[in-house]
């Protein structure tokens, strides 16, 4: 007992020191190179520029008309479905199903519609080079809304409110336009609305902006596991090479070893098929419906290459609002972010093309590393 007072101070000091040491061990510091890599993922949001291929892009009347059309069942043959049936606002503009169901079950997962205005290509295979072409595709698809241009023109003409809005926006009554023109114009209004679907700021953005301005309180507020996960994301995981920039995507296509058999005897050609469809489409930027007569944004369409390696390649999706848009991958085959991280951790390299990406190797993450990466990925979503 007599020793206690004497020992008390040094023991207490040792405990404090130990606690400090432990905290220092758990603190995550970023090198100058890592900071530079983190800053590349912002600032957010990115400024909007109207789409020159769509003359009503950015117009408030078009946005309002597009919003009304988006949830209108008049666009489906059986009047039972709308765009909003598979792109549900409260479900991250996706539908939560592995593969969506229109008039039949489709081959792919419904992509979330956030930040589409930043895309160069649209759809999992990039079969469209503009948002209005991508918007009319499901209207005509026999497995989705299964409509025809004639059907759409007739229904828009026969709907007093839609016909009035159409006249106000496009300068003529829908009845005076060829059905295909009505369809394209409807798609342009739908595109104008979808351009306004922008994901909000996230905990990662708050951290990234704090890092940019040297705000130590803001930096400290970001959870330690998220910081560790971020280190993996920009470091050993090499995730940021493809999930690049403020929208966490390079906008292109890669084969990451996800199976591309839709059924036992049927393959999803991925980007290979996407380029073939793009080239065959009347609605691409080289076609007659591009409102930009200079074709200023058509260079990618003109120059895109068709490689054998495009088989099995699919879009690198944006990671913004990722937590809201499960399941994952083009076929919705991964139910959770943990499944996605496990896929990269235990990657089956035999599934990758020989002439494909050498970048991908099994990450072999520990349990803690996997959990940290998931925590980080969740901070890319808005707080709701």
């Amino acid at each position: 007992m007599r020793l206690m007072p004497r020992l008390g101070a040094p023991v207490g000091a040792a405990l404090v020191l130990a606690a400090g040491w432990s905290q220092a061990q758990s603190a995550v510091e970023f090198s100058a190179t890592e900071k530079a890599a983190i800053l590349l993922h912002g600032p957010w949001p990115v400024a909007m520029t109207p789409d020159p291929s769509n003359r009503v892009s950015g117009q408030s009347k078009a946005i309002a008309f597009g919003r009304a059309l988006f949830s209108s069942r008049l666009l489906s043959a059986d009047r039972k479905q709308s765009c909003a049936s598979c792109h549900i606002a409260n479900a991250g503009f996706s539908d939560g199903r592995p593969r969506s169901i229109g008039s039949a079950r489709v081959d792919r997962n419904a992509l979330a519609l956030y930040n589409l205005r930043l895309n160069r290509w649209f759809g999992w295979a990039g079969q469209s080079d503009n948002l209005w072409a991508q918007s009319l595709r499901p209207i005509l698809d026999t497995k989705e809304l299964r409509a025809t241009p004639q059907m759409i023109a007739r229904r828009i003409t026969g709907h007093p409110d839609f016909a009035r809005r159409y006249l106000g926006l496009f300068g003529s009554r829908p009845a005076t336009h060829p059905p295909e023109t009505v369809l394209v114009n409807i798609a342009k209004a739908l595109a104008a609305y979808q351009e306004t679907i922008v994901s909000g700021p996230t905990p990662f953005d708050a951290f990234r902006d704090a890092l940019a301005r040297g705000d130590s309180a803001g930096i400290a507020a970001y959870p330690v596991p998220a910081k560790r996960g971020l280190k993996i994301f920009i470091g050993k995981g090499k995730c940021s090479i493809c999930h690049f920039g403020p929208n966490f995507t390079n906008g292109e296509f890669h084969n990451i070893g996800v199976k591309h058999f839709v059924a036992r005897s049927r393959v999803d050609k991925g980007r290979y098929g996407g380029i073939q469809q793009l080239r065959a489409s009347r609605y691409n930027l080289l076609g007659p419906f591009n409102d930009d007569k200079t074709r200023s944004t058509a260079g990618f369409t003109k120059r895109v290459r068709l490689h054998p390696r495009n088989w099995g390649e699919f879009r690198v999706p944006s990671l913004r609002n990722l937590a809201l848009t499960a399941p994952y991958m083009h076929d919705g085959s991964m139910a959770s972010l943990s499944d996605v991280v496990r896929h990269y951790s235990e990657l089956n390299e035999d599934r990758l093309h020989q002439d494909g990406e050498r970048l991908l190797r099994a990450l072999k993450l520990s349990k803690t590393e996997s959990a940290d990466l998931v925590v980080f990925l969740k901070t890319l979503s808005e707080r709701r």
């Binding site: 090479i241 493809c242 690049f244 292109e252 296509f253 260079g299 990618f300 003109k302 390696r309 970048l359």
Partner: protein, 127 residues
């Protein structure tokens, strides 16, 4: 192969036609190139203008082919640049896109009567 500066060659093909250009040399080929607009950014299209001449008499090569690859990743570009001939040995290639950060090798294949000569320059793209 070395990046260096060299005097303009005589004859129709003149490497001094391209102001503020970078130079590459692999005898007998002398080449200058310029990136429009520089610097190269991930995902942003750019053009490469090139003048290549055959030393010592400044003849224009039969053909120049310009392309790019990511050697560490084992793939090239997703886009095929279009060529526009400007003059003897002088051309511009539009539509390059480096779609990922990392090291890219820009290759110039210069076709002479003696065969193909490849000149390469590397770019480390970070942003």
């Amino acid at each position: 192969m070395l990046a260096c500066s060299f005097p303009a060659l005589a004859g129709d093909c003149r490497t001094d036609k391209l102001a503020k250009a970078e130079a590459l040399s692999a005898p007998p080929v002398a080449l200058v190139y310029k990136i429009h607009p520089g610097p190269i950014r991930v995902g942003a299209p750019f053009a490469v203008e090139v003048v290549a001449c055959i030393a010592p008499d400044g003849k224009a090569p039969r053909r120049i082919r310009v392309d790019a690859r990511m050697p560490a990743h084992g793939h090239g570009m997703n886009y095929r640049p279009s060529e526009r001939k400007i003059g003897p040995g002088h051309a511009r290639y539009d539509g390059f896109v480096f779609h990922m950060p990392g090291r890219w090798a820009l290759t110039f294949d210069v076709f002479t009567s003696a065969g193909r000569k490849r000149l390469t320059v590397n770019f480390d793209i970070k942003r």
